[in-house]
Symmetry: D3
Subunit: 253 residues, 6 copies
């Protein structure tokens, strides 16, 4: 199931005989407040993938742990100590190289499972570059799906997470959803006693460069995670695992 653990002969046999779906979790090493680990954005899609790939005989490729530079409105900004990022142009090259390698192996179905918003456009750029190159090599039947795990949170799950109403998805960095999911997936990684409980960040409609730290809470949490619970997290995980177990194989049909 984990590509890293397989001997190449096992992997090759799978690819040749089963045409498996390969899922690459795409995360980041980015501050997630004083209560969540730096690798939160990498851990969540990795742990989700490990739970849903068995449903369709998929393979989890090694996670892209380092992600694209954090932006203030989505991840607090790249000025935090510990946030350790790639330039988008580097990220796109890395993605392109690896997608091309899977294409060379004979893999036809690839999922980029994203846990870090800032990766998105550079994932797209990398995937599109790879498909151009593969096509020039005569390989035309590789399909790639880009899927941010949090896009599958529907109205019902949202109501479970925010019984008093959602403030804004834009402020859900290191907040209720991520904290709840980590409490469900890896409780030892959550320091409940350190969850800040401040009013949400209030950003202007524009962005400022160099980063203006004024509207960014110095603890890095964009809205309070106080109402996070393991139960909410389990609801998210269970729903997403069930959803992706079904959705992903259908997407490649």
């Amino acid at each position: 199931m984990r590509m890293a653990d397989l001997a190449f002969t096992e992997y090759e046999a799978l690819v040749r005989e089963k045409s498996p779906i390969v899922v690459i979790p795409c995360g980041a090493l980015e501050q997630h407040g004083p209560h969540l680990p730096l690798a939160t954005d990498a851990m969540i899609p990795t742990m989700l993938a490990e739970r849903f790939v068995p449903a369709f005989g998929g393979i989890v490729a090694p996670t892209f742990t380092y992600g694209v530079r954090s932006q203030p409105k989505s991840g607090g900004g790249n000025h935090f100590c510990g946030t350790t990022s790639l330039w988008g142009s580097t990220y796109a090259l890395m993605v392109a190289d690896i997608v091309e390698e899977f294409g060379r192996h004979g893999v036809k179905k690839i999922v980029m499972l994203d846990g870090h918003t800032e990766n998105q456009p550079f994932l797209v750029e990398g995937v599109e570059r790879a498909l151009v190159n593969l096509r020039r090599d005569g390989i035309t039947d590789v399909r790639v799906i880009r899927l941010a795990y949090y896009m599958a949170i529907d109205a019902k799950l949202q109501a479970t997470l925010f019984p008093d109403g959602l403030l804004s998805w834009d402020l859900e960095h290191a907040a209720v959803m991520e904290t709840s999911v980590m409490m469900a997936l890896s409780p030892s990684h959550v320091r409940l006693d350190r969850i800040p409980d401040d009013p949400p960040a209030d950003f202007p409609i524009y962005e400022t460069f160099p980063i203006d730290p004024a509207p960014i809470p110095c603890h890095g949490v964009l809205s309070s995670a106080k109402s996070a619970t393991a139960e909410k997290g389990r609801a998210v995980v269970d729903t997403l695992v069930a959803e992706f177990s079904d959705l992903i194989p259908r997407a490649f049909r």
Copy 2:
């Protein structure tokens, strides 16, 4: 007001004496249905900028007419004939070069006024690269604002535009807002008789590469523009011009 029209001596005098705000409209050459011109995303921020810069003595730099590759969910996708795009990596280099040039001129206040969603992360990458380079050249006081004009549409304007309720901002490509604004700004560019009136596009939560054209209307319009009116457009233009006339100079204080 338009940098293109100024002699360098006039421009230099302005920069030296007034420290003016320079606004670079950032558009695209992208299909906008059968009823709007290919350069819609370039025309709107350009025409808006020309209307609001007089309020603060700003300068409108030449528009970046070509933008970043169109994506299906925001602009229909880059497979349309007429959509003429740059790779994101090229775009970021172009942005970085030009921002560095303004920094070299002595300009301290730059606004990237964006009209094309796909530009955003590459605008950010380019601006951040430029500021790194300028800093290495000892120029540390340049500030850049990135502002997508449509981010200033507030609840009240939204109600004006969509009296029966907004379907989704994600589907507002070549739809009510853009069509209305073009009817207000440049009515001769709108072919009212060709506005398609189909149900909105229905995308899955993931993206597929190569692009799956199935969920994309072949006329390129993601939701119907039938209810567009010049009056709605004027409301948007008037509100935005007033808002930016005030907001932008305040952002640099």
Copy 3:
């Protein structure tokens, strides 16, 4: 005629049915003395193209307004305030991306109409890169013409422009030819009262880096434009429009 103004459906129909010639004006934002606007090199090829494409049913694509870094002997040098340039490597990437897009659309005949000497080798590099890539995509029938508008000034026109003899084409920056042409094409853009009337610049046979400003007039004009007239400009415009109306379609036969 202007691609920017067309709906994609109109453009697509033209491309599919008429195999039109697409002209991309390639300019610069570069000091042109105290009497001509910064965008002179972009305005001239754009306005010429708009006048000659009707002769062969051509399309004018959006102008590349920003050009390659100015050099002292051809444009005064890149140290002037207001000269706002791309590195050549960025320019070549931009050109390659856009030429590839036209190739993808099905356009077979492209003219890079250049108004800024420094663009030339990077236009060539970009076009050659694009054709390599298109060929690798199986598109082998795209032809591109690079044409600097001023190359069509023949002995007769030269005599009209310089009845007392030409000093040197190398010194014709913001000088008689460009000033006359702008007087013909857009008189409001010419500040006749500000034309400097100094002896021509006298450069050594080599170039110095960093730029040595000593031989460069600080008003940026390499030789006097005093003898410019609208009539001379009209002679150039009329001759070039007639010439290109005939030459360009023949070049693609």
Copy 4:
């Protein structure tokens, strides 16, 4: 100890107060015969690092799991299914970005702990680029050590591993040393029953491109791993952990 597990506040406190040594394990996803997992080159330096950093209060950063393209003489070659590599140029950019980020955090002591020969020159290129950039940002006190773990195998360890004499370190891919070490560090990852027992690969003194598969065993093992034992592996691990616990902090003094 593992950076991925730390909240940014914990990491920041460590960096500010302890000036810790940060170790980045640098591996690969590369065939290692039918008996070892694809991630062998990533697992070994990661597991070693986790064992020796406590000796000096170090931090283990997330592993670079994907490495540089495999070459026939050191890793069997990049034509194997499952070998999933980056181009060296991409790798160098990735390394440079991440080293610069650690420099920005205030980390002064970085170890690139390499487990994949092909990474070496591109690690060097990336580190040197990063230090140039940091220096241009005024950060001049970052020191980086590049250390391939297997370089610390001395004559005594070699005698333990190869009591009948070493054939050649060049052929030690997926062979006695790596197999023994994996038996010691993660026995469940070693499929003892699948160890091939063929004569060693016999390469010419040159390399051929495209790769000539003739001299490369199709099972990917360059010399037999039959004599691997967990005991030998423990000797290597114990010696290296002791050695690095002492050597690394001394290297930064």
Copy 5:
């Protein structure tokens, strides 16, 4: 005199004590008709430099033998067999790296002595990049001169070379000037019996991509070299050596 021949200690002593001028001959490997060698553009500036540097105690660095892609109007075009070129972007990077290295050594005076027209803009790009980087490293006193050797052919020399009048410098590829100079500098490299004697090439004012071979003589010579003589070549060589012996040191004063 030749850097290649010096021990580093000798070179270092020269640089430290004499602040010598370093000349880098910049050539190409490009067809020069059936009568001149492929390396003509490299040989001429190299042999000239070796003759004039003693006048000012200069150093000749190793020649850049490979040059930028040949264009039809200046070098016959890059489709000839034997023409072996770099992309301009590669060339600029190579130039930048090497100029930075000389800057690091402490060299303050560098001459790029060009023998291949197509190199020019990429030499400029590379030199300007290098000076930006050196400046960011605190090295601000490096000066670079770009000098095409043929730019020093004045009216008198021209009359010597072309007693019946010059057709056009643009057609002087593998023609009278280069052939004469090679006859003077290295007669064994000139195959007099193979000089083609055809009418000059007749190009349109535009360039066509892909290259249109029609106007290019298949022997690669743009105008006849029949009237070349060793005596003419000696006149050029003697004049240029004298001229550069004086001009170059003055340029750095």
Copy 6:
């Protein structure tokens, strides 16, 4: 034999009719102690190639004189004055461009004859890139051999060079082998009286960045060359010339 000396017509005839092997000597401009010239690494493979290509009718292409950045353990390090290097990424691009050009010419057999260890991985990267591009252009029958000349020194030659035993090949920079070979190939380039005679360099098992000059002798010689003799050099040259005369054509069969 030397491509530089051939007219393109001669070269073309050879390529078309004989399918010759083209050898590109790959060197460096790098300190080689006070007794050997900076271009030692370029001179040796060039002079060897000129001696062995006649055996199989090969062609020697112009040498890549500038090489990849020197590293302390193999070449003393890139901080020496006179060491004049390219970044690896530039080098790989240069190699790729040139190999693609030979492929375009119709050359099917290319040898990269390396004399500078640091070039190796970037030669490989460049060659692999070129073959990918050629394949995308439909050229699939180009084969490239990478061969470091010193790899052909076998046990017998080693005994001749080091009758008292070899200290370490790693320390053979500007030492017995290179000095002896230069004494045989170009005695006037060796300053016997300046050979340092110090104990060998003693490096730790790791590398330090920025370079730690402490373990590097300031004369740049990693182990004493005192026992070098012209006779030893002739033994190397004679053996290698004989070996390569036979090995290289066999490698392409």
